[in-house]
Amino acid sequence: MPSCLYLDNNATTQPDPEVVATMLPYLTELYGNPSSMHTFGGQVGKAIQEAREQVAELIGATATEIIFTSCGTEGNNTAIRAAIAAQPERRHIITTQVEHACVINLCKHLEKQGYTVTYLSVDQRGQLDLMELEAALTGNTALVTTMYANNETGTIFPIEQIGALVKSYGATFHVDAVQAVGKIPLNLKNSTIDLLTLSGHKLHAPKGVGALYVRKGYRFRPLLLGGHQERGRRAGTENVASIVGLGKAAALELREMPEATKREAKLRDRLEKGLLKTIPDCQVNGDIKNRLPNTTNIGFKYVEGEAILLSLDKYGICASSGSACTSGSLEPSHVLQAMGLPYTILHGSIRFSLCRYNTEAEIDRVLEVMPGIIQRLRDLSPFSSDDVAWLQDRQEALLVNN
């Protein structure tokens, strides 16, 4: 089995060796509870404070505005619930059709409990229409929650323009920045954002830790109730080692980001151009003008995503797909569907997402094997053009051909 050629960084990232080294003492000798009175525990509290400052610095916030959580899902759940609790008389929420499952499923749940939710549509590039947002906003809107950048296509939303509109209606503005933090520079100091979610394992920190930014002065009500940790805003004994790891990862991102993202963008562009050039009948999905520097989502017509991934797997290459067979449910990616992409593209879409560890040689390797993979699957496929009658209704496919 060849060693892993990892191009699935939007799914998760490798913990940086420096991060792991920083964490180890807190898994071995420094195991005290930061809430304890003795020095042994208290010193651990200092390490957490330092991590808090490091995370704050990465996003242009102050340390007191950072709450540590267990993951992005918890951050999103906490933020949305805090927002509707802050203005309970308002019963309308606005989000988008391309949000992460935790946001969409929570909104669907809230709909059953009497909230109205508007799911803003996106165009073929996956981009929002600000006029649609403005038309949806009312004095009854408690919260607008959108992602900063899309995990599947990398499309970046016009956050500050959205924020300006949201604020003019007095609603809370929550941004799920799980994919954006560490890839594009953020400065919350001069922003309209009230609440912002980030996740450790997308930043070369371990899984099981994240952070929620809460603007100073925001009327926040906690999700997890219990002890007084995180100044009463998120109960539960702190995941010390991972928090320390997250802090270190944030510091590394701050240092590396400017140069790394330039380099990643170059590699990504070379990968993308190379695939489009050597493989016929494929296209990029997403807004290539407003996009994360590390992500490319390409639809390969007439072949299916899981089959492509398993073929890549043979070479140790890791990526992901929006096809129905890879989703766990039987529905293809809701993001690609919301973009109105045709089925010929949808089921054969592959996402490659890079990080600062990827190299030229790795891109070369992918460019070397992909054409053969796609060609083999196309030889197996009954489809070779968009004219096939099978693009129609499933029922018609069962009728006898003459």
Partner: protein
Amino acid sequence: MWDYTEKVLELFHNPKNQGLIENTEESGLAVVYGEVGSIACGDALRLHLKINIEQDSILDARFQTFGCTSAIASSSALTELIKGLTLDQALRITNQDIASYLGGLPEAKMHCSVMGQEALEAAIYKYRGIPLVSHADDEGALICSCYGITDSRIRRIVIENGLTTAEQVTNYIKAGGGCGSCLVNIDDILATVLTGQEKSIQVATELAHQKDVSKDAPKTLTNIQKITLIQEVLQEDIRPFLMADGGDVELYDVQGELVLVHLKGACDSCSSRNETLKGAIETRLRAKVLPTLIVQAI
């Protein structure tokens, strides 16, 4: 990551019989293909057959598949299973046979094997000039509108595969996997099938728990009682042991005292199949049903 067997991966990376069969002018031969699925669904199969008209048998089979690893492996497996069979024998191939050939499929991927069975039917029905529209599965009420699946089709899959939950039905034929609003109706269908089966098992159990028939004069059983009892004995006493070794048996028909069965999976190719047939199955059926039964494999 789907947990695929070696066989599935082997057929995915090195599929057998991929491609199509060109139409032929040769006399005595016919070339036909059947299609199922669509690009909208995310899987589709076109199955090509070359048929020896006189012997009504399949000389060659090729496939073209748009779909995932299991779809490609299942299609290839199907072509291997049907080469050399008569059309009637081929029509008896079930999705379970395809799954067994592959050493099993993840539950959520069973519908890929069902697609193979359907393409085969489509091809053979087309060859015989029977419009698929009259296929029993298209009759009945539409239950799943996302995937166009009727209640008779759900019922057939449930009975053929012994399914007990709506999730399993979704895994096998996708019904309920879209918007999910028909899952309740699928539950209802499952309930009626299971009560129906319970009734026939009840009858069979009552008969079986009466005095051991081999000691008395043979009781007269009606046809339906005999068949139900035979099914119950196969299900309770015989199948579990065969399945534990990777084999299986399926009742094909009962004609008077002749019991015709299919030996499947490992049993089919086993050197002890005669022992299984006579020593295990026939003996058991004679003890529990009628002492004059004769068991034959087809």
